[in-house]
């Protein structure tokens, strides 16, 4: 399988005076069309890793390659979806205008289509701050898709919505992933979410982080919100991951 995204010995150290190592050395490869999750203990540098992959911050050592080209700044075809979605939407723009920010050319039809895909067709003239948290996250998903990315980087995108909304958003993401052939890399601290959504799961160690192990997920697709969570394969992988995460240092 051709690797679309290659992460090779990526390390990150913050601060010059009293350096703090966040990432020791991370290796990971993601194939085109794959859905991969990165889980790890809180504060282990998961988001830092994702921001390096997005080209938003530079790595201290090692490199990230997209289709063989080294990533130094935000590359074409990669969109980063922020954890703080309410802060990432422009409050002075309407929902439709926010989505149009992602478009290359201001195509009206495409914008309407995207809002329909995320179920917000009726809210195009509203402002983000008039919507609920889950709806705001849908807007930022639509805006991300507007850029027609081949890789979507999700930084704990479901962590600050309520439990039911989170399940709805899982369904939406899987649906969009199935339709578009996107490659998705998800950072999360929620093991169930990782197992439910992804093909493979990379488990990180405590900081300074490296990849402890990559788990293949045998849970069959299509995933169903209730049944899949009762599947023995789901439970087994969840058990394994949680046990590893809760191990004392």
């Amino acid at each position: 399988m051709a690797e679309l995204l290659e992460i090779e010995r990526v390390a990150k150290t913050f601060g010059a005076v009293e350096p703090v190592a966040a990432l020791r050395s991370v290796d990971l490869a993601v194939a085109k069309g794959e859905f991969v999750s990165i889980v790890g203990p809180s504060g282990c540098g998961k988001s830092t890793l994702l921001q390096i992959i997005a080209g938003l911050i530079p790595a201290s050592a090692g490199e990230v390659r997209l289709s063989g080209r080294v990533v130094r700044e935000p590359p074409e075809g990669v969109v980063y979806l922020f954890q703080q979605y309410s802060r990432s939407l422009f409050p002075w723009l309407t929902v439709a205008e926010n989505v149009r920010f992602g478009l290359r050319h201001s195509a009206q039809d495409r914008c309407r289509e995207l809002l329909q895909m995320v179920g917000l067709a009726d809210f195009s003239a509203r402002y983000p701050w008039e919507l609920s948290g889950g709806m705001q996250q849908r807007v930022s998903i639509a805006r991300a898709l507007a850029a027609e990315p081949s890789v979507l980087l999700l930084d704990e995108p479901f962590s600050s919505v309520d439990a039911l909304t989170r399940l709805e958003l899982h369904g939406l993401i899987l649906d969009l992933w199935g339709k578009t052939g996107l490659t998705i890399l998800l950072v999360t601290h929620d093991v169930e979410e990782a197992v439910y959504l992804s093909d493979r799961i990379a488990l990180l160690t405590r900081r300074p982080a490296e990849v402890a192990e990559v788990f293949a997920n045998a849970l069959p697709r299509p995933r169903r919100p209730v049944e899949s969570r009762e599947d023995a394969r789901f439970l087994a992988l969840r058990h394994e991951l949680l046990t590893r995460l809760l191990q004392p240092a």
Partner: protein
Amino acid sequence: MKARIASLAPGLAFIAFWIGALEVAARNGWVNRVFSPFPSEIAARLGGVLGSPALLEALGSTVGLLAAGFGLACAAGVLLGLAMGYHRPTYALLEPTLELLRPIPKPALLPPLILLLGLGAPMKVAIVFLGAFFPVLINTIEGVRTVDPVLVDVARTFRRGKLATVFRVILPASLPMILAGMRVSLGLGLILVTLAEMLTGTHGLGAQLVDAQRAFRVQDMYAWTVVLASLGLALALSFDALERRLIFWSSRR
């Protein structure tokens, strides 16, 4: 709207009360009738002023100079502020010079400006500009610096260029701070244009005020004071309206 009038009612009643008190005091000679404000007399003079071409001339002159100086200061302050807030080397290059000029009390610059530019419009526009420039500049720099970094990262992940990032993301995001600076500048501008007109005594509301004072037309002078206060109030209210339109979103996040 009704609720707003109701909440204003006690305050307006209070204004009516002290105007009435001044009237009674002046009528009964409890205060000096020549020098103290005499509301009914001021109202009569105001009626004369309102119908006269002198009002339009003076108002036009004052507002025109203020608009020119304030407009230039806003344009220059915002552009330079964006550059200095966004680009560190530019900030380091210009900061010492601006820190040196900033503490100068602007009215003290009127005499040198009169020597350099004369008594006409250029001098008055220049003093308004100098006074209005710094609050806009300082607030723009501060506004740019405090823009939520997440918004800037959004522009980066969507691969927007520097220019698009500055004008489509950073400028609107720092608009609340910029407008706060402009509000201060507008007040300062009005003060400085009035002062310049008072010192030169040729055109505008300030000159009318000083003319009336020097000619001992005391109640006329009060009438012109009322005109000036009304202008100040009109400017403040217009600015409020503009702010509500431009940054309707800022208190809602």
